[in-house]
Symmetry: C2
Subunit: 417 residues, 2 copies
């Protein structure tokens, strides 16, 4: 799985100078922080040397969703301009577990599992970022030989106070949830990665800003030019919250089938469309701005805008033909012939639940009179949801609109508030 | 300098069972914490197996003072009963610097300096603890091969909250003084020492209780029987505060000459005598109790009690003959013939100063009219303090009583409040 380094990889290659409009879009679309914006822009504009772009990942859950693709498209752009993408497999940080956005620490994993996950991750990574101009390194390259002396030196560069400023640590302090000391080492190791590969630039989700800035600071302390830093926004999933590896049912995955992708996009909350258009598609920026302005003014129907969005995302991840087919399959199930135009509709609240069992769904939508009856219907394979036959153990993420069919003709439309 | 381990060192040797009175004194005299008292007493009483007693030290400033001897006498007692003393040279913890009782971190030292200091320390250690039944190990034995994986495992056993409970860290947090993360690693390494040597017992000054308990806890977490713990009090120095390696002028050093020891003990504050009698002498405990009771009731003059104390301490560190000679020399200077009985006396405040220059002393005691005159007297070698000719650069620790002579006959007695 390791990309061999081509012989001329480090040879001097002049990167391409981006057109101004291209650069402007790069620095503004789907961008949160850029540190230091003017320096970074000047480096990209100058085209004097290839920049080394660091992208680290912890191979815990290896699947990528379209939220990850937001950042990967940035890397693709940099690779296309001729810069070098270094993908760091966090085989050591994974042994600690990233404390980011967690109030508990993660379990550690076996080395074998780490390698297997890394392989999956890298395959999916290259669905967006071309193999050319990318290379993959393992933290083991430097951390396998790290001794106590190195740890002490590194741990002398940062203070407990700095670390405890992090929001997730502050929360744990307040809640009196234990913070193992190893969790304080996590940002240090990640920071050291920047030093080890002499990164010029590091990218991450906006929740990684603290860790990435630690890398910048460590480089400065050790006499390296501090890396440029940029962060991308975190795309919301089907439940309206940040899409996350730890909530597989609410994400749209790069490996999802066309029909799944299309159907999932159709089920997002209307209010999320502007984010999806800007961050999760490759539609020209001018067009995105127009669509989003029209949505804000309610000049296009939400349904039409969502169909276009679903088609676009499916098309980019698969092909226009696959997107056409998915659109048709979706329409067949929901809009034409098979289901009547006119059916009873139930509006349900979700009360923050992440998943609702089909048993509960049938009861709450007044389709079944009791849980017993709901179980009976489900166990008889008599329930279809959005055209799929569902089982008694299944669950649904409560968002968007769904059509439930019981038996041959009994349709109900369910809409979540 | 390493004590070779005798071939039969680990052979089964039954330790001596202490007499009850001896054990009672051991557990009560100059003892602060004993954890767990009943368990520890039972182990000592049983005489079933040799206990391994851990004593760690950081070879920063290598000289030992009589405050250290308080603990060393405990070790001597244990060695005499046949238990094994393991002296751990903290060649790795020294690279971090013990954050105990400091509000700033210590500078790191070269390996060469560490070894040199360790040698000095060990020589002085054996002025009190016999070489038999003692052995010396370096932390390098286990920490030189410690890898990042080991550090992560260790750092997963303790929480940031536990560490920050330590008084010195709490103080630094309040004062917003930086706490480098390496300082949080210090107690972890010291704790690991207990695991590495499989300690049964650890001793330290009372300010080390936190670190020592961390060792006990780590052993329990890793499935070893947790070590017994005891701490000894911290003897006050000439300035009335804890005797400390970092304030050499206020300590009584094991390598001090008899006259120095005698004179220094004579200069301690009267109120410290009970501590000195109980903690810093080997007088039988019954006798110490009687003397201290008499002092409390003012049944013996303070001066007489202090002369006995000074003689006793000098005698133990050197010999009765050396103590006799020191006593005589001291008396000659202060009490008889050479200096008149009747001389002007000045009582000076010290306002918390640790040292007063002789220049200032002469001015404040009205011996010189100005600093210029004071410097003149000193540069002419015309000033004696307590029988010693003093120089213009010299300083005095402001405590007790001193006799200043200028020229041949001009005597002044100075007493510090």
């Amino acid at each position: 799985m390791l990309t061999a380094i081509p012989a001329d990889f480090y040879a001097f290659r002049v990167p391409q100078v981006p057109a101004q409009a291209e650069l402007d879009e790069f620095l503004a679309r789907a961008m949160v922080d850029v540190i230091v914006r003017e320096e970074f822009a000047a480096l990209l504009r100058s085209g004097e040397r290839r920049l080394r772009i660091k992208q680290g990942f912890d191979p815990t859950r290896p699947n990528l969703h379209i939220g990850h693709a937001v950042g990967l498209r940035k890397l693709r752009q940099l690779a296309r301009w001729g810069h070098e993408i270094v993908l760091i497999v966090g085989d050591w940080t994974t042994q600690i577990g990233d404390p980011t956005d967690k109030d508990e620490t993660r379990p550690t994993m076996s080395h074998e599992q780490v390698l297997k996950n890394a392989q999956t991750y890298v395959e999916q990574f290259h669905m967006v970022v071309p193999r050319e101009n990318s290379r993959i390194v393992f933290q083991s390259e430097w951390f396998a030989k790290f001794g106590l002396r190195d740890v002490i030196d590194l741990a002398g560069k940062f203070t407990a106070q700095q670390m405890l400023q992090r929001e997730e640590f502050r929360k744990r302090m307040e809640k009196k949830t234990p913070i193992p000391i190893k969790d304080l080492l996590y940002p240090l190791l990640q920071a050291y990665d920047s030093v080890a590969i002499e990164a010029d630039v590091e990218m991450g989700g906006t929740d990684q800003l603290f860790n990435i800035l630690a890398g910048r600071e460590l480089q400065a302390q050790l006499g390296q030019p501090p890396q440029q830093v940029f962060t991308v926004p975190l795309l919301e999933g089907l439940d309206g919250e940040k899409m996350s590896k730890s909530k597989p049912k609410t994400g749209i995955w790069l490996t999802d089938e066309p029909n799944e992708i299309y159907g999932k996009v159709m089920s997002i909350d209307d209010a999320l469309m502007p984010h999806y258009y800007e961050w999760a598609t490759e539609l020209p920026w001018g067009e995105v701005k127009k669509i989003n302005a029209a949505l804000a003014q309610k000049q296009i129907p939400a349904k039409e805008a969502k169909e276009r969005l679903a088609w676009q995302i499916t098309s980019e991840l698969h092909s226009p033909a696959a997107a056409d087919a998915a659109k048709e399959a979706f329409a067949r199930q929901f809009q034409k012939g098979e289901a009547p135009e006119d059916m009873p509709e139930r509006v349900l609240g979700a009360d923050g639940e992440r998943e609702i069992s089909y048993v509960d769904l049938l009861v709450r939508a007044d389709i079944a009179k009791s849980k017993t009856q709901a179980r009976q219907l489900l166990s008889q394979n008599g329930v279809m949801v959005d055209g799929n036959r569902v089982s008694i153990d299944g669950t649904l993420v409560p968002s968007g609109e769904h059509v439930v069919r019981v038996g041959k003709r009994n349709y109900t439309r369910i809409r979540f508030r």
